[in-house]
Symmetry: C2
Subunit: 431 residues, 2 copies
Amino acid sequence: MSLLENAAPAAAGDLDSAAFLAKLDAAKSAARVLATTNTAAKDAALEAIAQDLLACVDDIVAANAEDLARGRENGLSTGLLDRLTLTPQRVQGLADAVLDIVGIADPVGESVRGKTLPNGVHLEQVRVPFGVVGAIYEARPNVTVDIAALALKSGNVAVLRGGSAAERTNAVLVAVIQAALTRTGLPAASVQTIDEFGRPGAAALMRARGHVDLLVPRGSAQLIQTVVTESTVPVIETGAGVVHIVLDASAREDWAVDIVRNAKVQRPSVCNAVETLLVHADAAQRLLPPVLGALRAEGVTIHSDERALAIFPDAVPATEEDWETEYMSLDLAVRVVDDLDEAVEHIRRYSTSHTESIVTNDLANADRFLAEVDSAVVMVNASTRFTDGGEFGFGAEVGISTQKLHARGPMGLPELTSTKWLVRGSGQIRG
Amino acid sequence: MSLLENAAPAAAGDLDSAAFLAKLDAAKSAARVLATTNTAAKDAALEAIAQDLLACVDDIVAANAEDLARGRENGLSTGLLDRLTLTPQRVQGLADAVLDIVGIADPVGESVRGKTLPNGVHLEQVRVPFGVVGAIYEARPNVTVDIAALALKSGNVAVLRGGSAAERTNAVLVAVIQAALTRTGLPAASVQTIDEFGRPGAAALMRARGHVDLLVPRGSAQLIQTVVTESTVPVIETGAGVVHIVLDASAREDWAVDIVRNAKVQRPSVCNAVETLLVHADAAQRLLPPVLGALRAEGVTIHSDERALAIFPDAVPATEEDWETEYMSLDLAVRVVDDLDEAVEHIRRYSTSHTESIVTNDLANADRFLAEVDSAVVMVNASTRFTDGGEFGFGAEVGISTQKLHARGPMGLPELTSTKWLVRGSGQIRG
């Protein structure tokens, strides 16, 4: 299947197709080498990458300063500029994250299941790398290093489209990584950027079925929606979190206060932060004043339905839009529900199926919530902030999958592998 | 996300959207019931379905006769007519296949992995149904029953688009299944056909992201290509098999003859039948005459490269097209290669990554073949016909995945499930 036939016509016109295809061909060749590279060799390359990131910190920060200056000229938001910024301390963090991945088990070759058939044929399903993994993201140079390192450890080639806002930084990061790969005897093409092809390159990457085995978008809901809609390459959707906490009638007050505050305030801009609080009517009088009082003390704006407003007036009225919103800020929507059914129904309607948690002391309600709420992560009496690859012990994460195919929830190294069946016989034929 | 926004404009114009959406809404409601239905209740429904298929055999065969008559008028090929035909004996086979699924372990609720974090938070990843599984296929009424039964056992709703050629047969089969579901207390909407919406219905199904969790196409390469290209719903690609057998220099003659003959002749029209034979130059003189002689005795047409033709002249010259062709008939392409590298390179270039097998007595070559060939199933000294859900012990199969995401190779019940993380805490927050 030709890449050019698949590329969107508008994009193909602007794309230097020969140069783009040469990169993907080099990626495929590198993938063959990585697929049979042993763990020790991959770990040695990761250690070299961590070392070189630290050795090149001045170059990285200088390139980043160019991106930041251009970003300020272009009026990038404070939040985006912050995400874009690499300080020497943050570069140290990147190197540490790479070293963390050295310590995580290599999933390649793991035997998933197997058996011997009555005729003596032995079946074994083992984990293998996908091959070439693409990533499309925006203004997040840390993702360049995280995905490169996770892909390498799992035997995959990474083809990265990091966006124009971080182009200089990503170019230097990829150059540093490629030099470390070469020094340790692995193909430089194991980690590549296609930023130089601009948007036509991103469009072609999405249509490069047969050249790219998996595509992971990370970033805004709009970017993810575009990748999901436009791609013919298999995509894992990551992302958006309209996350709910339910305070059941039997909820302990101290747990309710601690969990809601932690989930809202600790890092409001991330996808596992809570956005909507649903409170059982029987507990609203008891729980809303301490829980919302603690949030107000932290500067949270409360968007309440009428019943919550009547109990805790230091809030603004909620509209339909509030239930649908991933604020990613110090805002929280609050609604009083008559029972667990109404809470579950609200979650079905508005959740993005990322994470929901219930605070309860009622065992039957806890079990019902775990069974009936269809989200990637469903919790009882814990902060939604625990939905995180690091917290789950996966090391740096590729993203948090909010879809059901292949991976769901925080994605670690096993989620970057496929499987194949090895069948060993001694002349058997089918009867 | 509204279905109508997503539907292809051309299709939306012809579609009775309200009726179509009502079916998908009913599917989603049924999926909630099935997700918490226990194994015994699902097995009881399967037993009722098997019973009713046998009780209604006359209705089924009569409806099938209408489809067959129309098919003959429309000039359907003999092969398609055969696949379309349901005899009383084949209906018995369908009922038996449903009963087989009763005996297979229910994957729902299986604990995949889990651990307790140092802070006491317990994580458990369990299998859950996808929810609503769509299938698009052509003129294969057996697929209607197979997928309905597999979906039901794995807690999923099946929404079936079985194509116009089998419309009457499928309508009766689904009516029989729905009556059995109702009789055993499960929602009739657990198994539905959308055949009455025609092609616009199929197009809308492909764009029904948010309503349908997984779409499985089965049928011609063209149908699969269309579904892969057009769908925004996650798709598992099944299918095409340009399957290779390599005869290594050390191959035993008896195994080579038995395996190649079985793989080519037993059922040439299926995807796990061999299409290309690659023979090591050092063994060509020894192996080609007995292997190809046995095939000629079975009526196989041999399409040979020059070197093979020189050794075994009772053949026609192969062209480039032969290496790319899935014959699905009594034809075999044959090529002599200089070494294992050339064989692996040929497979990389022409294989559809379904199944490849090597006949060898050389351990190092066997290991190399298993490691370097990147196909769903890679075999040593066994017939490629073993790539089959039934042979693997999965019961009836949804299809054989030739892609790498989520499922690879024969798909059984676990492949029809997703997972979710259950997190149980006692007030923990993230530090």
